[in-house]
């Protein structure tokens, strides 16, 4: 009996690797610590009521961001483990099996469990506020999306201590990922973790399309919407077209593995090349899904920190949509060398090159936003300045890769790795970091410390180049990806060693970011203006953090950059009424470093000049900090959605079902599925879904934030 238990345990738990045992201990200690803290401070109810059942997009956004930063930590540790293994030839720090599992999980985690949730987090934190809306279109679905992601990620993440990690690469090509070559459960954890999380992604795509199309403030026509919202729209349109492909492909692989089907097997008429086509038909749009919102973030930041309108708004919208559409036409460039022939390769080479055009146009528009602006280099702008050269060079190597016949020398080499890391880190990661730093004060009510932020940025930026520039060279030297080691005779070790140093520099940069967050929570001044950067869009017109109903009254807008225009209007009004004293007496508790809010000095619009009695000097030194919201619809009780525990429970049931299918324990899987069905049934009969916030509560909340309604 004891023997049977031992046998089972040695299969169920991952054994034989000291690093894994260490992880087991760390996980156990963390769980004990979390449970103890919650119990000691009697916070279980609070956790359930305020976070696990919330449908508030702001809270959901925070949870997405926390989860993604934890995943950034795990994915980053994976990266540093790999770089340590590769630093010297014939290294035995990681066994081949372990190395293969680590590069697989590194890829899956960084793209699906770090970049996507961080992106969804920013969608949630920002889009409704930028649109002047009170929440997203489907708050319940929003919560469900998050918990599906959470439990899907949990299922994937537990695989390295229970059952075994997947180890067939982040895209799990068959036949390597079929039962014949991956008999273990790792591959099944892969399928179920991603599948469950993917349902959440698709739902978020739908949610934000409807929110953007239907819930903009009155007067906010589509072409007056903030550019970030356009980027979210283009990304979500891509999500709803691409994610069904992933769902189907993983389902077919599951059928192969679980029911012995032959979609992608070698025998029985299966064809692995079909999987490769399908998975990349999702995979290529996926990388554009994550980069488009980053572009939107940069548009917001460049305009704000150049104190100037975004250049070429119409062109930028067109470029976003071009990129989204074109992204579906390029997938075969991921396997030019699979032998499709010259006709097919030529077509996909062309479509891939085409995407460079709208992307390049966007770069020009950002540069010309800065041109004749007044640029301040706060942390969000630093990340943007790091992004531009990095992404542009990464795009160039992308064009080099798109030249199909040349790609036969680049494919699956370190040249390829360097390219995609350059665009993913330089574009996506830098963009989301910039967005986090930019909107952090709106979410939490205080800015992050600038000095630590600068240290973090430079470590990341320099570390990136030190890590990845040598990898282009290694690719040209013939080093292929996914090799767990190499010999002295290759001549690759110097560049590998340098690359490892760069990786650790980025790791230290991450530590600085953690320190920065902790330090700022404790020491940074609370922002009472709601508008610490001198922003241009509606989210800066409400207090920080935003009250739970967002806007006391729905704002009515009549131009792009509505908040900036409103501030100018108030300045002009005050100036022309000779209220210089009023302006100077504004309760301005902004950060002293902040540059003055320059009034409109555009010589071509003299009617914008401040009226008589106000000198230029006093206007440019008087930072307007209006404590009233934008004029809008009348104050009335606000309609809000109620919390619900169903998203959490239903996702947990999916987790249970997935776990059961992974181990082929139907006595767990079927109750899990039954639980999912039960949750849907319960939800169908849920009629108390909303409530109203009375007017005097709104007034009190606003007054507490120093606002007058």
């Amino acid at each position: 009996m004891l023997d049977k238990i031992k046998d089972f345990a040695s299969e169920f738990f991952v054994t034989g690797d000291p690093l894994i045992y260490g992880a087991d201990v760390a996980i156990a200690l963390t769980i004990i610590a979390v449970v103890s803290v919650l119990t000691y401070f009697k916070k279980w109810r609070w956790l359930w009521r305020e976070w696990l059942t919330t449908v508030d997009h702001k809270r959901i956004g925070i949870m997405y961001v926390i989860a993604s930063l934890l995943m950034l930590f795990r994915g980053g540790v994976d990266a540093l483990l790999m770089r340590t293994q590769l630093a010297i030839p014939n290294n035995e720090f990681l066994s081949p099996e372990h190395y293969n599992a680590i590069f697989t999980t590194h890829g899956v985690i960084m793209i699906l469990f770090m970049a996507m949730p961080l992106m969804f987090g920013l969608f949630n934190l920002v889009v409704p506020l930028q649109l002047g809306a009170r929440d997203v279109a489907f708050p319940f679905l929003n919560a469900l999306s998050f918990w599906l992601f959470f439990w899907g990620a949990m299922l994937f993440n537990m695989s390295f201590v229970i059952g075994g990690s997947p180890d067939a690469g982040w895209l799990s090509y068959p036949p390597l990922s079929e039962l014949s070559h991956s008999p273990g459960v790792g591959q099944d954890f892969y399928i179920w973790g991603i599948q469950i999380s993917g349902i959440g992604s698709l739902a978020t795509g739908i949610n934000f399309i409807v929110t953007i199309l239907k819930m903009r403030a009155p007067g906010m026509k589509l072409m007056k919407m903030p550019m970030f919202c356009w980027s979210v729209l283009s990304s979500c349109l891509t999500i709803i077209m691409a994610f069904p492909i992933l769902t189907v492909t993983l389902a077919l692989l599951f059928l192969d593995r679980y029911l012995g089907a032959h979609f992608f097997t070698l025998d029985g008429g299966g064809n692995p090349m079909m999987y490769i086509n399908l998975i990349w038909m999702w995979g290529h749009p996926e990388v554009y899904i994550v980069v488009l919102p980053a572009f939107g973030i940069f548009s917001e930041i460049v305009a704000t920190f150049s104190r100037k309108r975004l250049f070429g708004y119409g062109s930028m919208v067109f470029a976003l949509m071009c990129i989204a559409v074109l992204s579906f036409t390029t997938w075969a460039h991921h396997f030019f060398t699979m032998g499709s022939g010259a006709d097919v390769n030529a077509f996909f080479a062309l479509t891939t090159m085409l995407i460079a055009i709208p992307t390049g146009v966007k770069v020009f528009n950002w540069l010309f936003t800065m041109y004749r602006g007044r640029i301040t280099f706060k942390t969000p702008m630093l990340w943007t300045m790091g992004f531009i050269p990095c992404f542009v060079v990464g795009g160039m190597t992308g064009v080099m890769l798109s030249v199909a016949p040349a790609d036969f020398q680049f494919h699956n080499s370190y040249f390829l790795i360097a390219h995609f890391h350059q665009v993913l880190i330089g574009g996506v990661a830098f963009g989301y970091f910039a967005g986090l730093y930019y909107w952090w004060p709106k979410v939490f009510g205080f800015k992050l410390n600038e000095r630590l932020g600068r240290w973090a940025f430079w470590l990341w930026n320099i570390g990136f180049y030190v890590c990845f520039m040598p990898q282009y060279a290694l690719g040209l030297m013939g080093m292929t990806r996914r090799v767990n080691t190499y010999g002295w005779d290759t001549g690759w070790w110097e560049l590998n060693f340098v690359s490892t140093i760069g990786g650790f520099l980025m790791g230290i940069g991450f530590l600085f970011q953690v320190w920065q967050i902790l330090h700022s929570i404790k020491f940074m001044e609370r922002d009472t203006t709601g508008d610490p950067w001198g922003g241009r869009t509606l989210e800066w017109s409400i207090p920080s953090p935003a009250p739970h109903y967002n806007f006391a009254t729905t704002p009515v807008v009549n131009s792009a950059d509505a908040w900036w225009e409103e501030k100018l209007r108030r300045e002009r009004e005050a100036a022309s009424a000779g209220k210089r004293e009023w302006l100077e007496a504004q309760d301005w508790r902004a950060n002293a470093e902040l540059t003055p809010q320059a009034p409109n000095l555009d010589a071509t619009r003299p009617s914008q000049d401040p009226g008589a009695g106000a000198t230029q000097a006093s206007m440019s030194d008087a930072p307007p900090a209006p404590q009233a919201p934008l004029p809008g619809l009348p104050l009335e009780p606000i309609h809000m959605p109620r919390n619900s525990g169903i998203p959490f429970v239903m996702s947990l049931c999916w987790f249970t079902a997935g776990f059961g299918f992974v181990f082929d324990w139907l006595w767990i899987a079927i109750p899990g599925l039954a639980g999912v069905a039960a949750c849907m049934l319960v939800h169908s009969f849920r009629y108390k879904t909303d409530y109203y916030i009375p007017v005097d509560e709104i007034r009190r909340t606003e007054a507490a934030a120093g606002r007058v309604v």
Partner: protein
């Protein structure tokens, strides 16, 4: 933070890159892709250089503009730079920066399409000498080379004469892999159930690094092999030596090779008849002996063909 410090730190970031370029220039001969020894690799390098130059036409000005604009328009109280906060539209500029990339991409596209057909791997190479056929099978985790005209086989190294087009026919009896000799030219995937074609030729004798380039499991990193180009005389001598001294590869021996594992270089003085063809058609039900032949549209005009391929599918 003022811009001086930024500028200095930018420079500090660039310094290690410049240093690496200088320090590593002594290792140029290690850059296989940049130092090709075969006609295919040479054409691919030409293409890489053309692409880089075309891209640089856009990239270099963009990088310069980024730095200049950031520097010039940084906010200082005494700044004399013009400030036009509402200037956000210029049809002239839009036309310029849509047109220039379109033109560059159009040029690059034309070059690419031409070379895509020219360098299609299944297309035979123009040469005086008659091609030599070498059959390649990727296994877990080793490479098997069969020489049907010489009736010998090798594992984990391949030999062929210089200045003779080598017509590789490739398959796999293991998960998908990729066959790559960077100094001679680009790679091609090796897949079970089908035979790929790749043509390469070495300009001069030498030993060139080869590797597997598509992850295929545990000991994928060990799938390195040497590609040895020899003079005609040396090659003939080598064939004779192998025929004389090496053990034969039996079917049982092959089955053992196909088991997961690694091994050092090995010679075989003969191999079972039709082994490669049987490997390719392994998964066809009924064993009627025809297999899928994948290659480009102009694969067949002058190309030779091993006997058992009776049916061909064009893509």
């Amino acid at each position: 933070m003022n811009n001086r410090t930024r500028g200095f730190r930018r420079f500090a970031a660039a310094l290690p890159l410049a240093a690496m370029t200088v320090l590593l220039s002594g290792c140029m001969d290690k850059f296989a892709v940049l130092d090709p020894k075969g006609v295919v690799g040479k054409q691919q390098l030409d293409l890489i250089v053309i692409t880089t130059l075309l891209c640089a036409v856009i990239i270099v000005p963009v990088l310069i503009m980024t730095f200049v604009i950031a520097w010039r328009y940084r906010h200082r109280p005494d700044s004399k730079a013009e400030y036009r906060p509402n200037w956000a539209h210029s049809p002239k500029l839009e036309i310029i920066w849509w047109t220039i990339p379109i033109v560059i991409i159009a040029i690059l596209a034309t070059v690419t399409v031409r070379y895509t057909y020219k360098l299609e791997p299944s297309r035979p190479l123009a040469a005086d000498a008659k091609p030599i056929v070498i059959q390649v099978t990727s296994l877990d985790w080793k490479w098997l080379f069969q020489y049907p005209e010489q009736n010998i086989a090798t594992v984990n190294y391949v030999a062929f004469p210089e200045n003779v087009p080598v017509q590789f026919e490739l398959t796999s009896d293991a998960p998908m892999n990729s066959f790559w000799i960077p100094q001679l030219g680009g790679q091609i995937y090796t897949m079970s159930g089908m035979a790929m074609k790749l043509h390469l030729m070495a300009d001069e004798p030498g030993t060139y690094m080869g590797s597997g380039a598509n992850f295929s499991g545990k000991d994928f990193a060990k799938m390195r092999f040497d590609a040895r180009a020899m003079t005609r005389a040396e090659f003939d001598q080598w064939v004779q030596n192998v025929r004389a001294a090496a053990p034969p590869l039996t079917q049982a021996g092959y089955d053992e090779l196909a088991e997961p594992g690694t091994m050092p270089e090995q010679d075989y003085s003969s191999f079972p008849e039709g082994l490669f063809e049987r490997t390719v058609t392994k998964y066809i039900k009924g064993g009627s002996g025809h297999g899928h032949h994948h290659g480009g549209s102009d694969a067949d005009a002058a190309g030779s063909d091993t006997g058992a391929m009776t049916e061909m599918h064009h893509h």
